[in-house]
Symmetry: C2
Subunit: 800 residues, 2 copies
């Protein structure tokens, strides 16, 4: 019997709420809604124990009411079922700026006062709780990191569902309740994330219960999903593989019964699906239940203000009554609205929630805002890491053998996977194999819950319990990964360099989340880093060309807080191993590793690599001939392709211009270039100067856009002599060397630049310079004729 | 009768193909497929007139076969109907790297030879055509700008359908055929773009005919949509509001009949829908037809290679036979495969397509690759622009009145809309009103094809024929806009500053498209610029806080070609008008305008604004007291909020430190800061030095991240004395002044910085400095206590 049959046959007793239950649940809901309204408006008189006066209203009204009552309604019903079935559940709030719903419940559950003791469970605490909301120096009107119980920043819309799935993976007992706003449902990331159900294994993973909250309006427009015909809506979600239940209405008493019945049915279906799968081993993808909750925007709020409909309209999105401070009629309307929740029945003399309502909430870690999964660092177990040195490439002499850095890393990742089969995943947008990380499949193939066919056995690497996550959607993968890490687990995301820009905004949001958590919220336990491996780099787009050439993600990264951002450009495979292992063990960073998938020369033994990567920047003596003295020129590099070309330039110069004293510096840890006053990894000026000299020309060959190096170094002593070569937005279909040439990061242009900038060479190296120019012409002509680079260029090695 | 009824009742004669038609269509298809294979492999012997030899194979095999045959199949059927019904149609190729399908047809239709005469319709031309493909110095394997007939770059996946809708808007006679790959269908942007049907008006707009090409595999994985059960797939598209037809199989003869019948039915349905709407005025949203085409990946290619299934597998994605150059058995397999298309029956002695097949293609502008909509600049009519001066804010003295720059611009845009009611649209993600552009609605409300309800009349501004496009999806809007502009029309996209990062990657791709088109492809007629108005800026996130603070899009923009990128930061409303009008009239740029929605001081009369914006940078004499002499300090600004604070600092200094000689410089056109050798708008060093001096301190107050200014100016003479204030990733819920303070862009920190850096003030201004520090403390305390800035700060004006 398949999971689907189980669902269809499910016959359960779902009793109606008793009048007593209904009364108490409605009272709890009123308490939530009262707090939501209080947050928006009050700076005094929090319990309305005296008539409301204009001066008790905040000077500036900022915050969002629209989705709050629908979300608090949901919450009250979740609480009932958590208690009834002892559910392990977290709540993700998707609708924009719906924080009051979470905050009010967090306060009523007592968690807020535990985390922020001055927001105590009494009138004084409630006042502080109200006043800080959406107030300078206070907290935001969406679920920022400051919100206990939340792992989901509600600032940018579209990622609630992917965060929910990320949380559910490998958490078989967890149910993640995700309220999806009908506004955010229009975004691309959200629209495709409904397909996440195709990657959830009912045996191994937990469940996600999406509640699509159709409140009908965005900031200023109706929403699409709220206005399409009901039959389309139903077909849409069935087509997406869900089993939709509709709860619709605006009469609280009726709605409580409907919601109680529907939500209980969903919980029982989830349990039946899981039990069936876990007892029979049948992993057929079930139709997981979901709820479509259709309630008026700003439900229970003012129906009409100044002649305009408010409840059930976009006018309820933010502040439903705009001018109570100056308009006595609207002040009265506000007071009447707030009093309609009967605060005097809900809170006791001290201002605390009355006992019989406090009983309604779950206890301890079962509270939605007290569940440790929502502070995932608490549950985080360090990754079991094999010794990365065991995967070293044997390097007898620098620059003699070519290996793919990512393929080397893959073998280490394979064993990381083997050692952490319940809390480590690898994510990639259909590019894991393309990025030569397919070695990982030996430990675990890719998750695939759809039909498996015979030919999949031939190199398909698909399995119901695979742990490599692949879908052609960068936003889905990054979102899953974030949700996974935010709930205390570990992972790595590999993606093509050009298209990592698709997640620029997600990166920004996660960096902001980390920065606040790390700097200000020590109650949030450290979570694992987000590790982004950028491969298929700009320099090797041999057949993809110009559209696939964009190394600008690093520019985006450098705009975020130095406390949470790290960029590594390992020059070879052993450095890649050292950096990779370091990043996987770290917490509270976004680590960006740029490492190409093509075979590249290896330079450093494992020990040398560890030392080099630990320092992050250093002189390569074997490539230098300055013998510890002041050189004529510093040649520096960052990035695998950039380093190879820079070394080839050094080799040309040492052959053709032996009189020039060259120091070769390689940068692995990009932030070493920043001043130590600006970034914790930054070098002091003294150390920087000792590497780059105070007055000698520095020719810097960089992986990405050249001006990024200037952005990092513009205050350095020798900055005026720093000449950076990098990607200059030139390219098409090119051989590797040709692409380097058109952007002047190739060996010949670098050598010419040295000749041009080192005075003593200008007299002696004129002939060499002409020869180098000739090499450039020859290289391009050869490429255009033969479609490949000349063998001697393609197979260049460092002189043995 | 509704459109839906029309569709259901549609009874049309759709005759089967005659054997003769079928024979010829199949032959044409074979010719396409032969060319696709030829591109991948051959550098000699293009017509296989001699036995294929290893040395005739390209040295490196790069390119993509997988989706080609399905796409060429589609194309042949479109050709039949274009001829039969004289259709005005373009073709958008969504699947990744499917260019051979478009290229082969472009060549067979003769367009390729018209655009690139050396790729002539003979054996020699065909050889060149083959050789250049995915070859250094040649063209890419996706539809780059070099591909005639394409408006859609196939490099990054996910935007085919939105580009198609953009093309169809306001083109009532056009049918845009969009082949959507099942890989790209997994991306967020594509997943939500199916909802574009809710914004297509059957009277005013053309039609989009999506063909979802389920070939089953991505690079290395099955696709989701190809493996979900057939009933889910059907419900999904019905739920998305489409009428799906399935064409499935692998026997060409059977498939030709099915496709002919289905496609003709789709065309007739489209015509019936349009005729119904256009004759009755009934704009009820119809269920537009779409086709789900399920064919094997690499259809008609080798079935098996080296014991692995290739046709119908991910192994057909790229090069189906990898080693024909070194493996004689596989060379024979390649030859047999290519000969299976019978090139000797398809091409005549000269190498041209035989006459009876040439007849199969439409003629002239009806050719899919010859349709002028696919080279939209040809059809572009300049925008009718009212005189922007008519919308000027009256400025009697600088800095006395506050107006919202975007609200001012909105009135101009309203009249631009009125004057261009068939070729101008405004796009915004539910933020047009939030960004205070709602003045535009007086000319035209928002497009809304879903149900309209009574309350929409109260401020809803929704209409079937509205011309303002709003959906909560930045990618959809940007994609529509690109499609609209690429087909020769005009528009403006406004969006919140922080979340414009969502389209970073789309920006990158369009900039690359423009750069190639402009620099290398003069056969592409200039198209209108993409105008992006960034509002709700970083400095005014009073209730959104940290998550909404990210001015880093400008960093992304500065990485792209100076030939196609422009950034403007108008300091006030009149400058906003001048810049806005300039951008709307321009072609072939991406213009980024940063302009806040909140009321800000106005400084310049319209004439002054025009002069200032035309120069792009200039000294404001009225704010300076250096009287044309060398100043003690230059205070510079770029951005509305940054300018207001910088002026307030000047005012403080002139009051408290009258001895300091200040020059005030404002920057509108950010690229003025770059050297003229690096950007066409850049200032010469001489001009830069004359503004910023060679040795005086420059305190630069910048809208965005401060290091961007260093990135642009690091080579300038006086760079060492340039001190930039900007957003430093600090913020939470803050009053405007408080946010400025925590990032040191406020008047007080600026004045202190001047005191610290101007020697002569260090002795005299110690007291002032202490007072300024006190002001900072007072400002923050006041904000935290009252929730607003102190009146005197909030309402600061330039001394009258």
């Amino acid at each position: 019997m398949s999971s689907l049959a189980i669902q269809d046959d499910l016959e359960v007793e779902v009793p109606a709420l008793t009048q007593e239950e209904l009364r108490k649940m409605d009272a709890y809901w009123r308490a939530c809604n009262y707090l939501c309204a209080g947050m928006l408006y009050l700076k005094e008189n929090p319990l309305l124990r005296e008539p409301l006066k204009a001066e008790q209203i905040k000077n500036r009204l900022l915050g969002h009411w629209g989705s709050d009552p629908g979300q608090t309604f949901t919450w009250v019903h979740l609480n009932r079922l958590i208690k009834k079935y002892d559910l392990n559940m977290i709540y993700i709030s998707g609708p924009g700026h719906g924080a009051p719903a979470t905050l009010s419940n967090c306060y009523l559950e007592g968690v807020y006062s535990e985390v922020y003791p001055d927001k105590s469970q009494d009138e004084a605490g409630m006042l502080k709780f109200f006043k800080q909301f959406s107030f300078p120096g206070g907290i935001g009107s969406h679920c920022t990191p400051e919100t206990p119980g939340s792992i989901h920043e509600g600032g940018e819309l579209g990622y609630s569902l992917v965060h929910g799935f990320g949380a559910a993976f490998d958490n078989p007992d967890l149910i993640v309740n995700v309220v999806v706003g009908d506004g955010e449902a229009e975004t691309g990331p959200l629209a495709t994330s409904w397909h996440s159900n195709k990657f959830l294994n009912p045996i191994r993973d937990g469940a996600v219960l999406p509640i699509l909250h159709l409140n009908g309006y965005k900031i200023a427009n109706p929403t699409i999903l709220a206005r399409i015909p009901a039959n389309e809506l139903e077909m849409l979600f069935k087509g997406l593989g869900w089993k939709p239940y509709v709860v619709e209405g605006d009469d609280p008493a009726v709605m409580h019964q409907k919601m109680a019945e529907t939500m209980e049915r969903c919980v029982l279906e989830i349990r039946a699906i899981q039990e069936h799968a876990r007892t029979t081993g049948d992993t057929t993808r079930p139709y997981w239940p979901m709820i479509i909750l259709r309630t008026p925007k700003g439900w229970t709020g003012p129906k009409e203000v100044d002649g305009h409909k408010v409840e059930g309209s976009w006018r309820a999105h933010q502040i439903p009554i705009l001018d109570p401070k100056t308009n006595p009629e609207n002040l009265a309307k506000l007071e009447a609205w707030m009093r309609s929740y009967k605060p005097e029945e809900l809170f006791d003399e001290s201002g605390a929630l009355i006992e019989e309502l406090r009983e309604m909430a779950p206890k301890g870690q079962r509270r939605l805002t007290g569940n440790p999964h929502a502070n995932g660092g608490l549950l985080r177990k360090p990754l079991v890491l094999p010794d990365f040195r065991d995967y070293a490439v044997e390097v007898k002499k620098p620059g003699q053998i070519e290996v793919s850095p990512t393929a080397t890393l893959a073998l280490f990742l394979r064993d990381v996977m083997k050692a952490n089969m319940t809390n480590f995943r690898v994510f990639g947008p259909d590019e894991t194999a393309s990025n030569k990380l397919d070695g990982i499949y030996a430990a675990s193939p890719k998750t695939w819950m759809e039909e498996l066919i015979a030919q999949d056995a031939d190199g398909g690497f698909l399995a119901r319990d695979g742990r490599v996550m692949e879908m052609l959607s960068e936003t889905t993968l990054e979102g899953w990964f974030e949700g996974y890490v935010l709930t205390g687990r570990h992972g790595l995301f590999s993606t093509y360099e050009a298209f990592v820009h698709i997640i620029d905004s997600m990166f920004n949001q996660h960096a902001k989340w980390l920065e606040k958590s790390k700097a200000e919220l020590r109650w949030r336990a450290p979570i694992s880093s987000i590790n982004i491996l950028i491969s298929s780099v700009v320099w090797r787009q041999d057949h993809n060309g110009f559209t696939h050439e964009d190394p600008g993600f690093l520019d985006v990264v450098t705009n975020k807080s130095p406390e949470v951002t790290r960029i590594y450009l390992p020059p070879d495979a052993n450095c890649g191993l050292s950096v990779g292992a370091h990043c996987l063990a770290s917490t509270e960073y976004i680590n960006v590793i740029v490492s190409d998938k093509q075979p590249h020369l290896s330079y450093l033994t494992m020990d040398e690599a560890v030392e080099h990567c630990t320092k992050g920047i250093g002189i390569w003596d074997w490539a230098s001939n300055d013998d510890g003295e002041e050189p004529d020129v510093v040649i520096a590099s960052a990035g695998d392709v950039a380093t190879a070309e820079a070394l080839a330039a050094v080799s040309l110069l040492r052959e053709h211009c032996p009189e020039v004293k060259i120091r070769f510096v390689n940068v692995v840890d990009l932030f070493k270039l920043m001043p130590d006053t600006k970034h914790p990894h930054g070098l002091s000026d003294r150390d920087f100067d000792s590497l780059f000299t105070c007055d000698k020309p520095v020719i810097f060959n960089f992986h990405a856009y050249p001006w990024l190096i200037h952005k990092l170094t513009y205050r350095r002593t020798n900055h005026a002599n720093l000449h950076v070569h990098g990607y200059k937005e030139r390219g098409n279909i090119n051989t590797p060397l040709e692409l380097a040439i058109v952007n002047s990061v190739d060996r010949f242009h670098l050598a010419i630049d040295v000749i041009d900038r080192v005075k003593k060479l200008q007299a002696t190296a004129a002939h060499t310079k002409e020869w180098l120019k000739g090499q450039i012409v020859e290289a391009v002509n050869y490429a255009h004729e033969n479609g490949i680079d000349k063998k001697e260029f393609r197979e260049w090695k460092w002189p043995a």
